[in-house]
């Protein structure tokens, strides 16, 4: 027992304690899910421009083969996650609720599904720029949920310096255990990934920040740090949103990221632990992002599990593999319950950013009556960036968007802590999301007018 870990638990101010609900799946080994017959690979699974297909319907593709290329810098490559034939490139349901151009692949039922061009990449001889190109080729995006292209994140802008490489393993979303399992089962890959990222960044030190509800993982990582790797395991308080970049840097380094700036401005680059592990494995086997660990959990699914799912597997196939649904399922979420998104149809595919699928039943999904704000302070005490959600909420209801700018609405990170604690059930963050979109559009319009 690493009791010293408990003495140095770090955290940030404010935040909430929603309870973690991780018991169901935290001890379940990652299980490989078989390939489904039909794989749907949306061309836009990441932030930034959609990828451009380089295969045609009817063409045979191999598992791990590049099938769509990044367009521009902030975009990402896409690889076939199964060996088979491209049936079509057509709009299909997407987790965002829209129809998105997707490459549909029919699995070749007779293929052994070995990896295309499996190889070990001798990365020690490569320069940081070559490494970055490899990562770009591999189609890496933030696997924690945001799906921001990793090669963009790892490119330090001119004049800035990345001194610290931070691995975000907080996994503060309730229910999700995929990062937990990755740390327990793939820690070698994590350390390998850290080495590669540190070489790219020329960083001095790495940190792995993990909430202490993952004690086994903390102890394992602590005992497994390679002697020559300047890496520190940081135990964090179990508190939401511990895994937000701003909260993580505040907890680990006691530094705040200045408003409107990025972690790099305080010399930090943050990456999700799943991404880091995937990078480590990519350089070992040459496997790009074609599968990911997904926690399938919640009271609505018969057999909760941590699954290694080929990207593009349909939700309905995942449900079937996990024994089907219980009665009274009312909501199916991609991601965790705090920041995930509700799905309306079952033929949406699992994507690179899908960290979990959560099934909620009528028991958890209770309609709530909205009351007037009683100014109870709970939201103010919860907001991790110290906004005043109560006042912002009233302003948003009255559509006083300019006034909201004075209350720093753009600093809101949409974590949902305020909505969670509000006893009057006011949809605070829901309104803030809309507001921010509208304000951004307005600012863009104004910028256009000026130029």
């Amino acid at each position: 027992m690493f009791s010293f870990l408990e003495k140095h638990i770090k955290t940030f101010r404010h935040g909430i304690h929603p309870g973690d609900y991780k018991e169901t799946t935290k001890d379940l080994k990652i299980e490989r899910m078989p390939f489904a017959d039909e794989i749907i690979l949306p061309l836009s699974q990441h932030l930034g421009g959609p990828s451009k297909p380089i295969v045609k319907p009817g063409e045979k593709v191999f598992r791990g083969q590049l099938i769509a290329e990044a367009t521009g810098f902030v975009s990402s490559n896409l690889h076939a996650s199964v060996t088979g034939t491209v049936r079509a490139i057509e709009p299909r349901s997407h987790a965002s609720g829209r129809m998105v151009e997707s490459i549909i692949i029919d699995k070749d039922p007779f293929s052994p599904q070995t990896l295309f061009n499996e190889r070990t990449i001798e990365w020690e001889h490569l320069s940081p720029n070559e490494l970055l190109d490899m990562i770009k080729w591999g189609g890496f995006v933030g696997l924690g949920g945001a799906a921001f292209p990793t090669h963009v994140k790892l490119s330090v802008p001119d004049g800035k310096r990345a001194r610290f490489f931070m691995v975000n393993a907080a996994e503060c979303e309730p229910f999700l255990t995929s990062d937990h399992r990755i740390m327990l089962e793939r820690y070698h890959a994590i350390f390998a990934g850290i080495r590669i990222c540190m070489k790219i960044l020329d960083a001095e030190k790495a940190y792995i920040g993990t909430e202490i509800n993952k004690m086994e993982a903390l102890e394992l990582l602590q005992s497994a740090i390679p002697a020559d790797l300047p890496c520190e395991i940081v135990p964090l308080e179990t508190k939401y949103p511990q895994g937000a970049e701003k909260m993580l840097t505040e907890a680990v380094l006691h530094k705040e990221i200045p408003s409107g700036q990025l972690p790099i401005d305080i010399h930090v680059i943050v990456n999700n632990v799943g991404t880091v592990a995937a990078i480590g494995e990519f350089f070992q086997h040459g496997q790009p992002v074609i599968e990911r660990v997904v926690t399938v959990t919640g009271p609505g699914i018969r057999r909760p599990a941590n699954l290694m799912v080929p990207i593009g597997t349909k939700l309905s196939d995942v449900i079937e593999y996990c024994g089907g649904l219980h009665e009274h399922v009312r909501q199916i979420l991609y991601g965790g319950p705090m920041m995930g998104s509700a799905q309306m149809v079952l033929d949406v595919p699992v994507m690179k950013g899908t960290s979990g699928v959560l099934f909620l039943t009528d028991h958890e999904v209770v309609p709530r009556q909205e009351y007037p704000c009683i100014r109870c302070m709970r939201c103010v005490d919860a907001c991790p960036v110290y906004l005043n959600p109560s006042t912002l909420g009233m302003l948003a209801k009255g559509r006083f968007y300019d006034e909201m700018m004075n209350y720093h609405i753009m600093d809101c990170m949409e974590c949902g802590s305020c909505s969670y604690v509000c006893p009057s059930n006011i949809p605070l963050v829901q309104r803030f999301r809309v507001t921010k979109v509208l304000i951004r559009e307005k600012l863009a319009r104004e910028a256009k007018k000026k130029s």
């Binding site: 078989p34 599904q113 070995t114 390998a192 080495r195 509700a342 909620l360 302070m377 005043n388 963050v429």
Partner: protein, 359 residues
């Protein structure tokens, strides 16, 4: 560098072995589209309000113990008065939820009753309840929009309209005097007072006008004269601790009020130990405890930041002591809370939290 053996292999059987269970439920259920967060604690505003009512119950029971049937009648009159405009409002506004069920009108009625003297005629108590909700709350636009604590608005109106009735204090008894009416409770509206009831000055009035100090144990137990809820400081304190421990009220407000009063009382005692009472006397006398625990903490009318709450509490404490020491009235809790209620928007402005990542 050498990679350790991986638990993951990269090729595996391509056969699908989905379960053969015929009855498997993979039908598309009726799904609900909302946006995150999807988790929520069960405590809502209604729950909070009922918790406050629950905490007020022992205070009301203590009032009934000391003032018998008069207390019951006054409480009933105030609550009925408070519910009437709420009920009318909900009938005409067709609000989605009946405000009667959220328990706030009950809190206001109860609190108002607890600030009234035990001999007040019932029609005045009823009128106080009506004006507390009608003027103190609905006129402002309902719960959440009122600037002043409704119960105190009701009391201030009564105090202005019926100064004499509001400052006539009947002595307390215990259960033996349960059925004794403490005054002309059933007086007709605006009729001259007929009976000369037995009266007794409150501890603060005794101190102010007669230089008589009531003993501390009496104050704690509440066996003194005063309004219905002014008497049982200890019970109010315990109710406050309960609410604070359930995080229903912000402990900073009562603590900073009481601390300020204690410090100022300590200073005056230190300056003039012969004429001034012990600091604890100030804490446990008058309406301070009731005001600090149940009225100043009304979330709607108090500041929204922790820092603001401390400023708010200190302000109330200072004004209370100024009125008690220099004012013409023996007690000033009501006015000090109302004054600070008026200051709340200003406090909110100056005590906004610093935004993360800014200086």
């Amino acid at each position: 560098m050498v990679f350790a053996p991986q638990p993951m292999v990269n090729s595996y059987s391509p056969t699908l072995n989905f379960s053969e269970n015929e009855n498997m439920n993979t039908q598309q259920p009726k799904l609900l589209l909302t946006t995150s967060p999807f988790l929520k604690p069960r405590q809502d505003t209604r729950f909070i309000m009922w918790q406050v009512n629950l905490a007020l119950l022992p205070v009301a029971l203590a009032a009934i113990y000391y003032f018998g049937v008069s207390a019951i009648l006054i409480i009933v009159a105030c609550v009925a008065g408070a519910l009437l405009p709420e009920w009318l409002h909900s009938r005409f506004q067709s609000a989605a939820i009946s405000p009667l069920k959220d328990g706030t009108a009950l809190i206001t009625g109860l609190l108002l009753a607890l600030t009234l003297p035990p001999s007040i005629p019932l029609w005045m108590a009823f009128l106080g309840g009506v004006s507390a909700i009608g003027i103190g709350k609905l006129l402002f636009g309902g719960i959440g929009y009122n600037a002043f604590n409704p119960a105190l608005v009701g009391r201030a109106i009564l105090q202005a309209a019926f100064p004499q009735a509001m400052t006539t204090w009947a002595p307390h008894t215990d259960l033996n005097g349960f059925s004794v009416l403490r005054g002309d409770l059933f007086a007709l509206p605006f009729a001259q007072r007929s009976v000369d009831a037995v009266t007794e000055a409150t501890p603060l009035a005794k101190m102010k006008f007669d230089a008589m100090i009531t003993a501390l144990p009496d104050l704690l137990r509440g066996s003194t004269a005063g309004s219905l809820g002014e008497t049982s400081a200890l019970i109010i304190l315990l109710a406050g601790v309960y609410l604070a421990s359930r995080r229903i009220l912000s402990w900073r407000i009562p603590v900073s009020i009481l601390a300020t009063v204690f410090v100022l009382a300590g200073v005056t005692y230190w300056l003039a130990p012969d004429t001034q009472p012990q600091p604890l006397f100030h804490l446990f006398s008058g309406g301070l405890m009731l005001g600090a625990v149940f009225m100043a903490t009304d979330p709607v009318t108090s500041p929204i930041t922790q820092r603001g709450c401390v400023i708010f509490g200190i302000g109330i404490g200072v004004i209370v002591m100024v009125i008690r020491l220099f004012g013409g009235l023996p007690e000033g809790v009501m006015y000090s809370i109302l004054i600070m209620n008026a200051m709340t928007p200003l406090i909110d402005r100056v005590a906004q939290p610093r935004i993360y990542g800014t200086e």
